[in-house]
Amino acid sequence: MAEPLIQIENLYKVFGKNPASVMTLVHEGRSKEDILAETGHTLGLKNINLTINKGEIFVIMGLSGSGKSTMIRHFNRLIEPTEGVIRVENTDVMKLSAKELEQFRRHKMSMVFQRFGLMPHRTVLDNVAYGLSIQGVDKAERNGKAREWLETVGLAGYEEQYPAQLSGGQQQRVGLARALCTDAEILLMDEAFSALDPLIRSEMQDQLIQLQEQLHKTIIFITHDLDEALRIGDRIAILKDGEMVQQGTPDEILLNPATGYVEAFVKDVNRARALTVETVMKPPARRITADTIGEALEQMKRIRGDYAYYVSDDGYQGVVTQQALEDANSETPFEEVVEAIPHVAPDAILESVIPETLESQYSLPVVDEEGELKGELSRRSLAEVLGDAESQTAAESSDNRG
């Protein structure tokens, strides 16, 4: 699965009249402010290292001025780096000649822009077919393909309109269709949904996730919105002032923020919607496998609780309480003491299991598709994760001190 497609190594970008001249200062580790004051050059990106795998949505997140838009323009060399290596599938992008770079841009990558970047003088259909027309594909073929993609993004019937006649959301769908129409393997999305209003934005996010399930593109997505990053990203990199602060899966970033900066970001995130049961559950300690009441009582004593999950060879069956075991006589069939209670799936979003967790008097068993007991979700651990993030991080940092 994790097959690296794009690699970026030691990438630096300095803006100014003579960037090469200040690289020694940069390597000495001088700060951005120092360099600006001393030489008038702006350090845009500093020592970026990234590996992006085939088929994943890689989100680069940062606030304005963090260098994220500069970053994404390095992948197809719309901006030339001052130093560093960019490799896409064994092609050293930095070594491509002007002609080769054109071919590379035509076939390997396509891009979606924040303010759409549509050609106002071309119809929607011609806009979608633009990439193919640049490649010299003949009109009938490219229009046919463009029509298909327009239909996929839900804009059939708008072919002959001009971009100015569409709403923002529709225009960005045209932008998306244009990017998909070239069949490029890599999709660069520069704050693609940031200019849209919240409702349309979440619609577009859903559509992107849906499309990705069928297309398995490699998507590099830039955003300033952490909720968006957590929602669509397989992995997230956080940029601050041109430096990479943290890289990881959404859960890693939410649960283990690397610096105070990331922590401050993560604080406001709706964790209930961002985390899955899997990341919060505890390993299943209360498990009994006996199939007679006597043995079950034995096991129950060992785990020191008043209830346990009964797991047979066929997987999870239900919950057994100490009370029920004691009340039962030796003649009672074992199945009768097993009580069925709701269980939850490991990949369920926390928000969706809150009611069940609160209603149940036991910790909820977490059971996967095969019926295996994976863990247990207690009210307490749920409260810990969803509780005030600040007090939690405070507790963590005091732990670190201690």
């Binding site: 197809n76 054109e102 076939h107 990558m109 924040q114 970047g117 050609m119 106002p120 003088h121 006649q165």
Partner: protein, 299 residues
């Protein structure tokens, strides 16, 4: 003792020095025009042939056919019956007042001058938009061309090529070309950066970017430049008539020297009618090509 008269009187160059400079410059230029005048003239021969042919064509076409063609062109460009009616009436009046031939001559030279100005001006404008250095060099030249009194550059042109159509065309083009150059440059520089970036990101080469994105998006601005160029060419017609360009300018010139007020006014009005026609037609044509900018039309 130092002579302090320089405090009260500007320390001028010696009269004899100035004279020497003038003489040497003038004679150098005269030598140059004697040496190369013929070569340069023959360089413009094809243009002259075309000018003569075009003027003859306009003059030999029967007036009713000419009016039909003009009104047809106006309709094709503007799709406006009102404008067509206005053009029809003006041409009937022009003919009725006996200015038909002069008007045809003026139209022919304006058309050729405009074509030459566009043909030279747009590429120069593109060059300026591409390179800041070219812009820095060309901008002051355009300033000189626009502010230098036209008579001043008539002198060397006449010295070089004599009196006639070609010097007239050159003078008119020098005077009228700056707007189309400036506005082509401006139009291309104002093209939305993100749209151009999108074209680059999809692998468009320089030619595809220019023809597919920059020129079409700069077109409204370029059209405004062309419109200005036509207007300036028309206003230059009177001055150009001083060096032998036939047309509506010559009767105006004659009426200045002879104080014929009515002749001057009529010919002046004919020039105004032509100017309004060219202006409205080119503007409504430009507007028609930009209909996609109008935004949501059908809700």
């Amino acid at each position: 003792m130092a002579d302090s008269s320089w405090l009260t009187k500007f320390p001028q160059m010696d009269r004899s020095d100035l004279l020497a400079i003038r003489k040497s410059l003038d004679s150098a230029y005269r030598d140059f025009s004697r040496e190369y005048g013929d070569v340069i003239e023959s360089f413009f021969d094809p243009l002259l042939t075309f000018l003569v042919w075009f003027e003859k064509l306009l003059l030999s076409t029967p007036w009713w056919l000419m009016i039909a063609i003009i009104v047809g062109l106006v309709y094709a460009a503007s799709r406006s019956w009102k404008l067509c009616a206005g053009v029809l009436i003006s041409f009937l009046l022009i003919g009725y007042f006996g200015m038909w031939n002069d008007t045809m001559r003026t139209m022919s030279i304006i058309t050729v001058c405009t074509l030459v100005a566009i043909g030279l001006g747009i590429p120069i404008g593109i060059l300026m938009a591409r390179s800041d250095r070219a812009q820095n060099i060309i901008t002051p030249m355009l300033d000189v061309m626009q502010t230098m009194p036209a008579f001043v550059y008539l002198i060397p042109v006449v010295m070089l090529l004599g009196i006639g159509k070609i010097p007239g065309v050159i003078a008119v083009v020098i005077y009228a070309i700056p707007p189309v150059i400036r506005l082509t440059n401006l139009g291309i520089r104002l093209v939305d950066r993100e749209v151009l970036e999108a074209a680059t990101a999809y692998g468009a080469n320089a030619r595809q970017r220019l023809l597919g994105v920059q020129l079409p998006l700069a077109l409204p601005t370029i059209m405004a430049g062309i419109n200005q160029t036509i207007m300036m060419a028309l206003s230059m017609v009177v001055i150009a008539s001083m060096i032998g360009v036939k047309g509506l300018g010559q009767p105006v010139l004659k009426s200045i020297t002879n104080q014929y007020f009515t002749v001057g006014l009529l010919n002046g009005l004919a020039i105004v009618a032509l100017a309004i026609m060219f202006d409205r037609v080119s503007q409504s044509y430009a507007k028609r090509t930009q209909r996609h900018m109008e935004g949501v039309q059908n809700g």
